[in-house]
Amino acid sequence: MSRKIPILLNVLAVAALGLFLWWAEHSLDGYKIQILNLIAVNIILALSLNLIYGFTGLFSLGHAGFMAIGAYVCSILILSPEQKDMLFLLEPAYDWVQHAQAPFFLAVIAGGAVAALFGILVGMPLLRLGDDYLGIATLGFAEIVRVVANNIPRLTNGALGFKGIPSHANLWWNFGWCLLTLYCILRLVRSNTGNVLKAIRDDEIAAKAMGVDVFRYKLLSFSIGAFFAGVGGALLASLVTTIDPKMFLFTLTFNVLMIVVTGGLGSLTGSVLAGVGITALLEWLRVVENPISFGSWELPGIPGMRMVFFSLALIIVILYRREGLMGMREVSWAGMLAAIGYKGKAQ
């Protein structure tokens, strides 16, 4: 198939998405739009974790930490100094925190960049560790971030967090960033460098013997993943308009891990599909947690039921279909066209 066809199809797909978003903005209620927004953010988070874990084989459980960093950096930059004046009740903010300002696009980039910086700082010592130790160490890092956020009121307003964060993160920004994330990670994974990352996942020793500077590429993958996790966190902050340290518990990382595992470790398509499915599922399960009224009867809500189903689902996936939905396969234009019988010119 000539090289032009996939490009054309991609453009069409993006245009279709644009049309869909335009329609959604005008026709759907706020609740459904919020779900769409969450879907976009979760896809960004899932793609970034998949890069680190699914493609490079680094079992990192620190995603919530990078998200927190992105969220706080972005919030500080988009809250106006007047708002910050009112928010920082415990203690006044540091001067540079008080006066820091940036337009939304740059604020999100800054969130990602600072997260990536921490990714490098944290990755340098920790990426030498093996599998499960890396998991625990990165989990420790995320917890340290949380505890620090709780204890530096002049920077983060401590346990109170931020309220009234300007909600710039609408469908266009979120899906825009989502497409950008998908593009970047897709290009990376498809390049020979992407092959190298997968080689590191498959057999580190052989990779070294083939001249791959394994440590350097682990660090690269880790910090790029951290960048997009920071972006996700930044968008999330603007989306939900309030953040506090309690938001960034291990549960958050767990949710992203769930999406990545269910979609398929090593499949970008899987992360996208699972991002849609799991976000929708989580929202749908909220039904179970809220009281349901049947006329004069009321079934009390069962808080925590959502996570019961969710964690059970993860156990079942890992026991019976650990490769998730897509395994390591991707959906490609060539594949889809072939499936409907169109072969086109031989490559």
């Binding site: 970047c184 390049s191 020979n192 092959n195 190298v196 997968k198 498959d202 013997a209 083939m210 090593g266």
Partner: protein, 261 residues
């Protein structure tokens, strides 16, 4: 340091706690030679490979590649300097395709990077095409070009071994270390392998050091042979010398093989 020698190992010793795996290994490999490293199981042959390629840091001793000191370098830099290798228990990138496995080997010599990939720069596109072409050529050389898009772990055993060689060749080595390339082969395949190794040497202009148990292969193609037993070098020489060396016969070859060869 003699630069006619591609590899020089001087006094390489490897001790693990109280156990001495290799003791005072000395070797000089002439450029473009095919040499062999033999010995009973556990003699320390793979340990020598691991010391040379940087996976183990020798307890003492030095390695030189074309006069450049390699001792203590990490494996990826050793590869960069020009040593490629295969593994006793095949270590392919199982989830990647056959072609991707070879392309990963090419990555070392790549000039453009992933950032250029992001922006679709012409330089990157050109290099990507060149890498694919070169990788396919290597696959053709080992006879695997038709399987280019298959997953590496779906290949038959012999094909996997050939893929490992193609991958190692992709790193453009000056010295190729083969760890038991003939393992699991029948006599016909072994003959083909011997010829194949000679062709590799001619076509790629490199030296080859192999660990092997199959004496036909060793005696057939190796110009120089080192014999290890319990980590100690018990003999060095060409095929004829080794076959008639009493120490070697005693430790390793046995009566029958001595008559066969």
């Amino acid at each position: 340091m003699n630069t006619d020698m591609i590899l020089e190992a001087k006094g390489l010793t490897m001790r693990f706690g109280g156990l001495t795996a290799v003791s005072n290994f000395n070797a000089s490999l002439p450029s473009r030679s095919i040499c062999g490293l033999i010995g009973p199981n556990g003699a320390g042959k793979t340990t020598c490979f691991n010391m040379i390629t940087g996976f183990y840091k020798p307890t003492s001793g030095h390695t030189f590649l074309r006069g450049q000191e390699l001792t203590g370098m990490p494996p990826h830099l050793v590869c960069k300097a020009g040593i490629g290798r295969t593994f006793q228990n095949i270590r392919l990138f199982n989830n990647e395709s056959v072609l991707e496995n070879v392309m990963i080997g090419c990555h070392l010599r790549q000039k453009t990077n992933w950032i250029q990939a992001l922006f679709f720069t012409p330089g990157h596109l050109k290099e990507d095409k060149a890498i694919r072409k070169h990788s396919l050529e290597l696959l053709e050389f080992v006879g695997l070009e038709r399987l280019a898009d298959e997953k590496a772990n779906s290949l038959a055993y012999g094909a996997q071994r050939r893929l490992e060689i193609a991958r190692a060749l992709a790193t453009k080595p000056g010295l190729l270390l083969l760890d038991e390339p003939a393992a699991g082969m029948n006599p016909q395949e072994t003959q083909e392998l011997m010829q194949f190794i000679r062709v590799i040497r001619e076509q790629f202009d490199l030296a080859i050091l192999l660990i092997e148990h199959d004496m036909k292969v060793v005696m057939g193609i190796c110009e120089r042979i080192w014999v290890l037993d319990y980590g100690v070098t018990i003999a060095v020489g060409d095929a004829a010398a080794i076959q008639s060396d009493p120490a070697v016969i005693k430790a390793y070859l046995g009566e029958e093989c001595a008559h066969d060869a």
